[in-house]
């Protein structure tokens, strides 16, 4: 019994780690008022870039840096189009997802000369029971909470997401805050992706993200747009995943599809007010137009 609990615990944390980075990213972006459907694509890009850079330099640290740079770029792209061109944020996010999936597979074939997966590269080996990424994820949850709720900058982020006009009137640069938050969400999403590639297996596989970006998005909502809430939601979704793995080895007759679908069902219940109502930041998804002088 104790054995199973240990396995369940470890497996939960490991499944939750990549989700936590990405969900924190989503929290920052949505808190500033930009919906980020492109998290899935940002994870894909991050997972790939990390392997790519590690492959050419032999250093997983540089690989992580590569993921950060590529994630920042896609975050910037979303910010640029949704802030300056007032593009539909959901469409831009969808475009990023399509682009990321195609671009990574294209480069995979061009560089490694075969479809499917890359070669093995140097990666982050576990420190103790977990990988470096896991410890970093938990630290970042605390940092994000502190930044959002205990610093002037965090107050500005929340103000911009709730009532950009009022924030603007008080001298907050709405565009700048949104740029920072969305780029940050790209970076965190990409680190989440890297945690899946150079943080657990040592390669990039086509389709390896498989909806994890959308689960992270669900965690943001289920966690009520709060970093600690989002992290707890990730752990909970990780548990559902872990139960599914363990139930197979235990011979439990739980349909695995039900466990896969559980995070989504719960999130729908949360936004519908069945399990504690989740309310989005008021200006989430609404482009801000500066008034005339």
């Amino acid at each position: 019994m104790w054995n199973i609990i240990t396995i369940l615990f470890g497996s939960t944390i490991r499944s939750a780690t990549p989700l936590m980075f990405t969900a924190l990213g989503g929290t920052f972006s949505e808190r500033s008022g930009v919906v980020n459907i492109g998290l899935e694509g940002m994870m894909t890009i991050g997972a790939f870039s990390a392997v790519l850079v590690s492959y050419f330099t032999g250093s997983p640290f540089l690989g992580l840096l590569g993921a950060i740079v590529s994630g920042a770029f896609f975050g910037w792209l979303l910010a640029f189009l949704s802030i300056h061109f007032k593009a539909n944020q959901v469409v831009v996010g969808t475009a990023i997802n399509i682009l990321a999936a195609s671009l990574t597979t294209f480069l995979l074939v061009e560089i490694w000369g075969k479809p499917g997966q890359t070669d093995n590269v140097n990666y982050f080996t576990p420190w103790g029971p977990f990988n470096m990424f896991t410890y970093l994820a938990f630290i970042l949850v605390g940092v994000s909470y502190f930044v959002l709720y205990k610093t002037p900058f965090g107050l500005r982020i929340r103000a911009v997401g709730e009532h950009p006009r009022a924030a603007d009137t008080l001298g907050v640069n709405v565009y700048k805050v949104r740029y920072i938050c969305v780029i940050l969400s790209g970076i965190l999403g990409a680190i989440g992706g890297a945690a899946l590639s150079i943080g657990s297996i040592s390669l990039f596989k086509e389709g390896m993200i498989a909806g994890k970006g959308f689960i992270a998005l669900a965690a943001v909502i289920f966690g009520k747009w709060h970093p600690v809430g989002a992290a707890l939601a990730c752990l909970f979704f990780g548990l559902a995943d872990a139960i599914q793995t363990v139930s197979m080895s235990l011979g439990l007759d739980l349909p695995k599809e039900f466990l896969f679908a559980l995070p989504y069902i719960l999130t729908m219940m949360a936004v519908s007010g069945l399990v504690g109502k989740s309310v989005a930041p008021a200006a989430d998804g609404v482009p801000y137009e500066k008034g005339e002088k």
Binding site: V35, I37, L77, L81, F85, A87, N88, V90, V91, V92, T94, A95, I96, N97, I98, L99, A101, S102, L103, T105, F106, V109, E110, P115, G207, A210, G211, F214, L217, A218, I221, P255, E257, F258, F260, A261, Y264, I265, T267, M268, V271, S272, G273, A280
Partner: protein, 370 residues
């Protein structure tokens, strides 16, 4: 008389503009694709020749392109229709899956029916399944105000897992990772049955159904009271409410109809092409492609038909590039860039800014502005 002529001129000019903007986006995206292909040491000319010959080279290839176009018309319509009501249906993906499963169920379980009736029932079942799946999201929006984008994303993955569950249990072909095959009476008529020219393509009657549905959607949106109400809600829900239109009812209705189209897409794909449903590892992409199709088609049912043809060519031609040693993913990259351009109105905004700047410069010259 003079006025009328000007009016026609203006409207023609506007239509031209509406077509010109997406067209520019498409051209620019193809150029970007060409640069990428060139950067990796391949010839863009070879790539695009393979692409277009692969999609349009002969009647069989064209037939296969139209098979993809059929699905894209319907999922594109689905996204476009909801958009007219101010709703973003990112759930076409899930509605498509539900449509496929319902079609396979009815197509397999019913026996001894005359073919025309069985086919009809199969398609209706699929459309209804999609309609209910989307209608529920609309109902949630109307009832508790939860956002349709979030709910449809969640419903996509619930559909995926529900479909996999059914396919691996009640509908499972023993020992296989797919469902039973539908009965011959539930299969759609294929062109190859009567036309030698389409012998090697799976082109089926679905393309005609899809075009017919697009025309019906155009009629419904533009010539009926229901369509007027739906567009009015999309344009300004508050004013519509004030004007006596039941906003909530129209939100549910628009989502439901939108879901009917995606569900029908799934049913047609099942009854015309696949005959079974596979155990899926991830979403199929047809619904997300519907977003591209709808946007490039300017959310207009007729525009949707044309843009579905374009994306059909891209998707069917892509694998032919692979034979020339160029990864077919170039197509996805082109599609993503087109979407970015169209979503941001990039060309329009740039043209506007250029004009404004020109004006300011002209005024500066005259010394009107200091």
């Amino acid at each position: 008389m003079e006025n009328r002529l000007d009016e026609i001129k203006n409207s023609a000019k506007n239509t031209l503009k509406e077509i010109l903007y997406p067209l520019t986006a498409i051209v620019v995206s193809f150029l970007a694709g060409a640069i990428l292909v060139y950067a990796f040491g391949n010839s863009p000319k070879v790539a695009y020749k393979a692409l277009f010959l692969g999609a349009l080279g002969d009647l069989n290839k064209f037939g296969e392109t139209l098979v993809t176009t059929t699905t894209l018309i319907l999922t594109g319509l689905s996204v476009a229709f909801a958009y007219k009501c101010g709703l973003f249906n990112i759930g076409a993906e899930g509605q498509f899956i539900m449509g496929s499963v319902a079609a396979v169920w009815i197509g397999w379980a019913l026996e001894g029916l005359p073919p025309s009736i069985h086919v009809l029932l199969t398609l209706i079942a699929g459309a209804l399944a999609g309609g209910i799946w989307a209608g529920f999201v609309g109902w949630l929006k109307a009832k508790v105000g939860s956002h349709e984008v979030i709910n449809s994303i969640m419903m996509n993955y619930i559909a995926l897992n529900l479909s996999n569950y059914l396919i691996m249990t009640v509908l499972n072909e023993p020992g296989k990772a797919f469902s039973f095959e539908i009965a011959p009476t539930a299969k759609l008529w294929r062109f190859s049955q009567s036309f030698e020219q389409f012998k090697y393509s799976r082109l089926h009657i679905g393309i005609i159904i899809a075009i017919f549905v697009a025309l019906a959607a155009y009629y419904l949106l533009n010539k009926t009271v229901t369509g007027y109400e739906i567009r009015s809600v999309g344009f300004n829900p508050d004013a519509s409410e004030y004007g006596g239109i039941n906003v909530k009812r129209n939100i549910v209705l628009a989502m439901l109809i939108s879901g009917l189209f995606s569900g029908l897409a799934g049913a047609i794909h099942t009854a015309g092409v696949q005959y079974r449903v596979n155990n899926l590892f991830g979403l199929t992409g047809y619904g997300f492609d519907g977003i591209s199709v709808a946007l490039v088609g300017n959310n207009n049912p007729i525009g949707v038909i044309l843009s579905a043809l374009l994306f059909g060519v891209l998707q069917k031609g892509g694998p032919m590039m692979q034979i020339e040693g160029i990864p077919k993913e170039v197509v996805g990259i082109i599609q993503g860039i087109i979407l970015l351009f169209v979503a941001s109105n990039f060309v329009r905004v740039m043209v506007q800014r250029y004009k404004e700047n020109k004006e300011i410069r002209a005024q500066l010259k005259k010394g009107e502005v200091k």
